[in-house]
C-alpha cells in the first residue's frame, strides 16, 4: 500500500499584525520564501517532481487572492509542470492542506506535494474586505456571522471558565514561549524571512529596506497577573476575554513536504513523520471554540487510540476560554500542566496567523516530538463558523 510521509515541516516566525516584523511583507512573499527554504532543506528532491502545491488561506483575497497555490509554486521556482490550489477551512486550513495532500498521495493521485498555509492579517482584515452577510438570514437561526471574540465570551459564560484561569493560561503561554525562544528551540523549524520595512531617509525619500526576520515577535514577557486583570474585554460589556488571554492576530506561513514513502526512499531522504488520521467535527457557530472537544475524540476513535496514546498535543489557543474548556472536557488538564500540551507556548504568545496556523503547529509539533523522541502527537484547533479539526501524526 502507498504511504504518504512528511519529509520536513517548516514555518516562518510569527510577526504581530500591523506592528510586527512581517507587517510590511506581502503574504505571497512570505509563503514563497518559506517554500524555497523548505526545498533547500531537501536538496535530494528534484523540484520537477513536485506535482502540486496546496495553500491554506482563511481570507484568500487581495495579495493572497487569485490562485495563490499556483502563484507560490511559480514564485518558489517550481517548474511549470507543478500545479497549485488554495483551500479554505479558516483556522484549520494549514493542517487541512497537509491532510488533503496525504489523502491524495495515498490514493495514488500524486507523488510529491507541498502543503501548508499562508496569511497576512496585517493586510487582509478578518472577515475580508468585502463582507456581505445575507440580509435574509433569520436572526434566530444559527448565527454564522458572529464575531470570534463573542464566541469565546459565550464559552466563558456558558461553561464558567473563570477570568483567573484564562489569565493564568495566557501568562503560562507567554512564559513557555519566552523560555523556548531563549533556549533556541524554534531555530530548527523557522525559515528566516528577508522581510521588508518602509522608511523615510533623512533627506525625506521613502525607501524599502530588507531585513532578516527569524524570531516570533508577539511574546510578552515578563507579564503580571495583576496587569492582565486590568484589561477590559473588547468583545462584551463586562466580558472576560481580553488581549491577554486571546490569540494575537499574526502574519506568517508554514509548509510541509509530503511524498510517498517510496519516493523518499528512492531519493535517499529519511521521512520525519506521517499523518495517520484526520477528522473534522461541527458544532454551534455561537460556540465555535468547543470544536476540539468533538474533533479530538473523533480522530482518536477513528485511529482506535485514547489520549494516553498521544505523547504531545498542539492545541491552538484561539482563546484561553475555549482551549481550556476543551482540554478540561477531554480530561487532559493534567497534561497541560505537565507540559505535554503546547509545551513551547501557544497562539496567545506566538500568534495565530489563521490559514497558516495548522501548518505552523504541525512544524512545532513534529520538531518538538523529534526532540522528545516521542511517537504520536495531535494538532487540533477550533474553526470559525462552528467546527473543530484534529490530526494525528506519528514519527517515523
Amino acid at each position: 500500500m502507498r504511504e504518504a510521509v512528511i519529509v520536513e515541516a517548516v514555518r516562518s516566525a510569527g510577526g504581530r499584525s500591523k506592528r510586527g516584523g512581517l507587517a510590511a511583507t506581502r503574504s505571497d512573499e512570505i509563503g514563497i520564501q518559506v517554500i524555497k527554504g523548505l526545498l533547500a532543506r531537501v536538496p535530494q528532491l528534484d523540484p520537477a517532481d513536485v506535482d502540486d502545491l496546496i495553500c491554506g488561506c482563511a481570507f484568500p483575497e487581495g495579495e493572497q487572492g487569485m490562485q495563490m497555490g499556483k502563484i507560490l509554486a511559480v514564485g518558489a521556482g517550481l517548474p511549470e509542470s507543478a500545479s497549485g490550489m488554495t483551500i479554505n477551512r479558516f483556522c484549520s486550513s494549514g493542517v487541512q492542506s497537509i491532510a488533503d495532500a496525504t489523502a491524495k498521495i495515498n490514493m495514488g493521485w500524486s507523488d510529491v506535494i507541498i502543503a501548508g498555509g499562508c496569511e497576512s492579517m496585517s493586510h487582509i482584515p478578518m472577515g475580508g474586505s468585502i463582507m456581505r452577510p445575507n440580509v435574509d438570514w433569520p436572526s434566530d437561526a444559527p448565527w454564522v456571522y458572529i464575531s470570534m471574540g463573542m464566541t469565546a465570551e459565550n464559552i466563558a459564560a456558558n461553561y464558567k471558565i473563570s477570568r483567573e484561569d484564562m489569565d493564568a493560561m495566557g501568562m503560562e503561554s507567554n512564559r513557555r514561549a519566552y523560555e523556548a525562544i531563549k533556549a533556541g528551540k524554534f531555530k530548527g523549524e523557522i525559515i528566516p524571512i528577508n522581510a521588508f520595512k518602509y522608511k523615510t531617509t533623512k533627506s525625506g525619500k521613502r525607501i524599502r529596506e530588507t531585513f532578516v526576520f527569524d524570531t516570533d515577535d508577539g511574546v510578552r514577557w515578563p507579564v503580571s497577573l495583576a496587569d492582565m486583570a486590568k484589561l477590559k474585554s473588547p468583545f462584551a460589556a463586562g466580558g472576560s476575554c481580553t488581549a491577554a488571554n486571546s490569540s494575537q492576530t499574526t502574519d506568517g506561513a508554514g509548509f510541509a513536504l509530503v511524498m510517498t514513502a517510496e519516493k523518499a526512499k528512492a531519493i535517499g531522504v529519511k521521512p520525519l513523520a506521517k499523518l495517520t488520521n484526520y477528522a473534522v467535527a461541527g458544532c454551534k457557530p455561537e460556540e465555535m471554540g468547543v470544536g476540539p472537544k468533538y474533533a479530538i475524540p473523533k480522530v482518536l476513535k477513528q485511529a482506535g487510540l485514547t489520549t494516553k496514546d498521544i505523547d504531545l498535543f498542539e492545541i491552538n489557543e484561539a482563546f484561553a476560554a475555549q482551549a481550556l474548556y476543551c482540554i478540561r472536557e477531554i480530561g487532559i488538564e493534567d497534561r497541560l500542566k505537565s507540559g505535554d500540551i503546547n509545551p513551547n507556548g501557544g497562539a496567545i504568545a506566538l500568534g495565530h496567523p489563521l490559514g497558516a496556523s495548522g501548518a505552523k503547529l504541525t512544524a512545532q509539533l513534529l520538531h518538538e516530538m523529534k526532540r522528545r523522541k516521542a511517537k504520536r502527537g495531535i494538532v487540533s484547533m477550533c474553526i470559525g463558523g462552528g467546527m473543530g479539526a484534529a490530526a494525528i501524526f506519528e514519527m517515523l
Binding site: P133, N134, V135, S139, Y145, S147, N154, A236, A237
Partner: protein
C-alpha cells in the same frame, strides 16, 4: 507698518503656555513651544540610557507640556492632529528658531529676574518686526521691559490669557508706555479675529482688571459671610445663577481654580496695591490660612470648601466645610424666601432676579445688598485707575469670570439710584463720581439711543457712544433699528445690509418648531425675491439644540400621526428649500447644533461654522432617527467626493456608509467645527470663524462673495448599498447585542437607521434620489414615534435631561 502673525513661539510649556500654543494651532498658526533644559539627570534617566545630550531629556519640559495639552479635558485642540503644528525644543538649543517668528508669547515662571534674563537672550535673535508679549498676571510690564532697547519696548506688551485659553473669552491686553499704537491695534484685531478672544485694554497695574475685580469679588463675599456668620453653602446658593453667576458660585469656583492660586493672588495684591482704599479685604481670613496649611486646596486635592464622600449605601454625598470647627458636614439645600421670589423672575432675565433679591428682606437679601454695594463701589473707584472706561470692567468680568452681567450692568439692572440709597443706609462711602453722575441726571451707566449704545464716562461726565465694530453684527440692535423684515414667535428675518438677510431663531434653546419651519419658507420666499442671499444664524449660545421634543411627544401620545407626518415632511421640505434656493444660503452653526439643528446647518449652500461648534445627529437618544433630511444629507456628504465611475469600477462604499451609520447610531457629537468636518457634517473646504461675535459678518461676506456668480446646485443622486448594507449592519448589531453593549430597542432603532441609509430594497450600487431617502426617513420617524419605548425615551429626556437606555 503692517503686521501679520503666521508663525509664533510660546516660551514656557507649563499648563498656560502649552494651552496657549494649542489654541494658536486652532487658529492655524504654527508655533514652537520652548522650555528650560532639566537641571540634572536623574537616576531613572540614566537607567533609560539618557545623557545630557539626549533631545528626549533636553526637551523634557516642552514635551511634557505638549503631551499634557494633547490629553487635556476639555480639549485644548480643535483636533488632536493640530499637535503636529507645535515644534518642541528648549531655551539652550533652539532659541535660533525665534529668528523667523512673528510673535513671541512668554509664559515662563512668574519671576522678574528669570523673565528679564530670557528676554535679554531673545532680543538678540528676533527679527525687527517681531511682536513680543508676556502672559504675566502679576508682574508690571514696565519692570519686565526695564532693560529693553527702545525698539523692543515699542513692540512689547502684555497679553494675559485666562485659563483655559481656548474656552475663556477674555484676553487682557496691556500696552507698555512705549508700545506703538499700531502694534496694540494689530494685536487687538488679531486676537479678536484670529484667536476669537474678547479683548479689554488694561493699564499696567497689579493683576490688571479681571483678577483685581475678581479677587475683590471673592474676598468680599468671604468676608461678608464671616461677618454675618453665614455658611459656605448658603453663600453659594445666594451668589448664584440668580444673580448671573456660574453654577459653581463663589466657593465652587475657588475649589475649581485651587485655593493656593487664589490665596497667592490675594497676598500679592495686598502687597502691590498700597493705595487701594479696600486693600485690607485682600488679607486672607483665618480659616483660609488653615485650609492652606491642611492642603485643602479644592478639587485637585479632593477637598476644599467642598468634599465628596460616600455614605453607607455607596451613594455620593456632598459635604461642606464648617469654617468654625474646620470639619466637613453634609451640605444642605439652603432656602431663602427672597431667593425663591427672585427665581420666579427668571423669565425676565438675570437683571430682574438680581433686583428682586436686592430688594428682599431676609438674610439672603442682606448679604446681597452688602456684597453688591461693596462690589459696585470698588469697581467705580477703579476707573480710571485700572482702565479708562466701565465697559472694560464689565467685559472683563463677563468674559474672564463667566458673570452674566458685569458690575456696572448689574448696578444698572438693580437701579443706580436705589443702590446708592442703600449704600447710604449701610453707611458706605459712595464714590464722588457716582454722586456727580446722578446729580447730572444720568441714572444709568448704559443708555440705548437711536444710533447705538452709549455708556457713561466718568472723565467726560457724560455719555459717550460705544463704537460699533463693523464686523460685529448685533441682531437685537438691528431689530431695534427697525431692520426686521418678517417675524414670528420662533424666528425673525432681519436685513443685515448690503442685500443680505439673516434668519434668526429665538425659541428656547432655538428648538425647531412649526413657527421656525414656517419662517424658513417665508424667509426663502422673501430672500429669493428681494435679497442677494441669506445667512442662517444667531447670537444665542447654541445655534439649535434640536427639535422641540415636547411637541413631538404630545402628538405621539395623542396619536396625531398626520400632525407628525406633516411636521417631518414640512421640515424636510424647508431644509430642501434652503439648499436649492436660487440665491445662496449660508448657515452659521455655533455651540450646540444637534438633531434638527444639525440638519438645518447641513442644508445651506455653504456653511460658516464657529470654531466652537458641537454638532451631531443625536436623535437615537430619544428613540427616533434624523427625520428632517439628516440621514439623507450625511449619506450624500460622505459619498459626494467619490470620483465618477469609481463605484462602477468596483469601489466598495461600505466604509462610507459604516461611518454614516456610526455617526447616527452612536449619536456622535463633534467637540469643534474641525471635528464636525471629520464626522462629515461640515465640508472640509469650509472656513471657520474663530470669533463668535464676528461669525455673522463672516457668513454675510460669504453670501456676498457667492451671490455674484451663484447657481443653485443640481439635485444629487446618491449611491447606496441596498440590502447588502443591512446585512452588514445586522451582523454588527448581533455582536453588539450579544456583547450587552446595546439593548433590544437600540437594535430596533439602529435597524431603522440602516434601512434608510441602505436606500431601501435595492441592490448594491443603486443611485437613489434625495427624495427617496427623505421618504424613508419620514416613514421610519413615524413608525418609531408610535412605539411606547420611543415615547418613554422622550419623556425621560424631558424630565431628566438625560437619555434613557431602554
Amino acid at each position: 507698518m503692517s503686521y501679520a502673525i503666521k508663525k509664533a513661539a510660546v516660551l514656557g510649556a507649563g499648563v498656560m503656555g502649552a494651552t496657549i500654543a494649542a489654541h494658536l494651532t486652532n487658529a492655524g498658526i504654527e508655533c514652537c513651544l520652548l522650555d528650560i533644559v532639566p537641571f540634572e539627570l536623574t537616576e531613572a534617566d540614566k537607567k533609560k540610557g539618557l545623557t545630557e545630550q539626549s533631545p528626549a531629556w533636553r526637551n523634557r519640559f516642552a514635551a511634557a507640556g505638549l503631551a499634557g495639552v494633547t490629553k487635556s479635558k476639555p480639549a485644548s485642540f480643535f483636533t488632536k492632529k493640530n499637535a503636529s503644528m507645535i515644534k518642541i525644543g528648549n531655551f539652550e538649543d533652539n532659541l535660533g528658531w525665534l529668528a523667523d517668528v512673528d510673535w513671541i508669547c512668554e509664559v515662563v515662571i512668574e519671576n522678574l529676574k528669570i523673565k528679564q534674563e530670557l528676554f535679554a537672550k531673545v532680543e538678540k535673535i528676533v527679527k525687527p518686526t517681531c511682536i513680543i508679549s508676556t502672559n504675566t498676571s502679576g508682574i508690571p510690564i514696565k519692570d519686565i521691559s526695564a532693560n529693553f532697547s527702545a525698539s523692543l519696548k515699542e513692540r512689547f506688551l502684555g497679553t494675559h490669557f485666562f485659563n483655559p485659553p481656548r474656552y475663556m473669552k477674555l484676553l487682557e491686553i496691556i500696552p507698555g508706555k512705549e508700545t506703538k499704537k499700531d502694534i496694540v491695534d494689530y494685536m487687538v484685531s488679531f486676537s479678536e479675529e484670529r484667536l476669537g478672544k474678547g479683548v479689554v485694554i488694561c493699564k499696567d497695574v497689579p493683576n490688571f482688571i479681571g483678577n483685581r475685580i475678581g479677587t475683590y469679588d471673592l474676598t468680599n463675599a468671604i468676608r461678608i459671610m464671616v461677618e454675618k456668620k453665614m455658611k459656605i453653602d448658603e453663600v453659594d446658593a445666594i451668589i448664584s445663577k440668580a444673580v448671573g453667576r456660574p453654577g459653581t458660585a463663589i466657593f465652587g469656583t475657588l475649589d475649581l481654580v485651587g485655593l493656593d492660586t487664589g490665596y497667592h493672588v490675594m497676598k500679592n495684591l495686598y502687597e502691590a496695591v498700597k493705595d487701594d482704599e479696600s486693600r485690607d479685604v485682600f488679607i486672607p481670613v483665618d480659616f483660609l490660612s488653615k485650609m492652606m496649611e491642611n492642603k485643602w486646596l479644592g478639587n485637585k486635592t479632593k477637598q476644599g470648601f467642598y468634599k465628596k464622600t460616600k455614605d453607607d449605601k455607596g451613594k455620593t454625598v456632598k459635604m461642606v466645610l464648617d469654617y468654625n470647627t474646620m470639619e466637613y458636614i453634609p451640605a444642605g439645600k439652603p432656602k431663602f424666601d427672597s431667593l425663591s421670589e427672585a427665581k420666579k423672575k427668571g423669565e425676565e432675565g438675570v437683571g430682574a432676579m438680581a433686583r428682586s433679591l436686592f430688594n428682599g428682606n431676609d438674610a439672603a437679601a442682606d448679604l446681597i445688598r452688602e456684597y453688591f454695594c461693596n462690589n459696585f463701589i470698588y469697581a467705580a473707584n477703579r476707573v480710571p485707575e485700572i482702565c479708562d472706561n466701565i465697559v472694560a470692567v464689565d467685559n472683563a468680568m463677563k468674559w474672564g469670570y463667566n458673570h452674566q452681567l458685569g458690575p456696572f450692568e448689574l448696578w444698572d439692572a438693580v437701579g443706580v439710584k436705589d443702590v446708592v440709597a442703600v449704600m447710604k443706609k449701610l453707611e458706605k462711602k459712595v464714590p464722588k463720581k457716582i454722586e456727580e453722575m446722578l446729580k447730572a441726571g444720568c441714572e444709568s451707566f448704559y443708555v440705548k439711543k437711536k444710533d447705538g449704545l452709549y455708556c457713561y464716562d466718568f472723565a467726560a461726565k457724560d455719555y459717550v457712544k460705544i463704537e460699533d465694530n463693523q464686523k460685529i453684527i448685533l441682531l437685537p440692535a438691528l431689530k431695534d433699528r427697525e431692520k426686521v423684515i418678517k417675524s414670528n414667535e420662533s424666528a425673525t428675518l432681519v436685513d443685515i445690509g448690503d442685500g443680505v438677510a439673516c434668519l434668526e431663531f429665538h425659541t428656547k434653546m432655538n428648538a425647531v418648531d412649526d413657527g421656525l419651519v414656517e419662517m424658513i419658507f417665508t424667509g426663502c420666499d422673501i430672500v429669493e425675491k428681494d435679497f442677494a442671499g441669506m445667512v442662517v444664524g444667531n447670537h444665542a449660545a447654541n445655534f439649535s439644540a434640536g427639535a422641540n421634543i415636547f411637541k413631538i411627544l404630545v402628538a405621539c401620545q395623542g396619536g396625531q400621526w398626520d400632525v407628525l407626518a406633516k411636521l417631518s415632511s414640512e421640515f424636510q421640505n424647508a431644509n430642501m428649500r434652503m439648499k436649492y434656493l436660487s440665491t445662496p444660503v449660508v448657515t452659521a452653526p455655533a455651540g450646540l447644533t444637534l438633531g434638527g439643528g444639525c440638519e438645518m446647518a447641513m442644508h445651506g449652500a455653504k456653511c460658516q461654522p464657529c470654531g466652537e461648534t458641537y454638532m451631531g445627529l443625536v436623535e437615537v437618544g430619544v428613540g427616533v432617527i434624523p427625520g428632517g433630511g439628516g440621514c439623507k444629507e450625511i449619506a450624500l456628504r460622505l459619498t459626494e467626493g467619490i470620483p465618477t465611475g469609481a463605484i462602477e469600477a468596483g469601489l466598495n462604499i461600505q466604509q462610507y456608509y459604516t461611518k454614516a451609520f456610526e455617526n447616527i447610531a452612536l449619536a456622535k457629537v463633534s467637540t469643534s467645527a474641525v471635528e464636525a468636518m471629520d464626522l462629515g457634517y461640515i465640508r472640509k473646504t469650509e472656513n471657520i470663524s474663530m470669533n463668535r461675535d464676528q461669525q455673522l459678518w463672516d457668513a454675510k461676506q460669504l453670501v456676498l462673495g457667492m451671490s455674484r456668480f451663484y447657481k443653485a446646485p443640481r439635485p444629487a443622486m446618491i449611491p447606496v448599498m441596498g440590502e447588502n448594507f443591512r446585512g452588514l449592519i445586522e451582523a454588527a448589531l448581533y455582536n453588539m447585542k450579544a456583547g450587552n453593549y446595546i439593548s433590544e430597542y437600540d437594535v430596533h432603532v439602529a435597524r431603522k437607521v440602516a434601512y434608510i441609509l441602505s436606500g431601501g430594497d435595492c441592490p448594491e450600487g443603486t443611485y437613489v434620489s434625495e427624495q427617496e431617502l427623505l421618504d424613508l426617513e419620514r416613514e421610519a420617524f413615524l413608525s418609531l414615534c408610535g412605539e411606547q419605548k420611543t415615547q418613554d425615551r422622550i419623556t425621560h429626556m424631558l424630565t431628566t435631561g438625560k437619555p434613557l437606555r431602554n
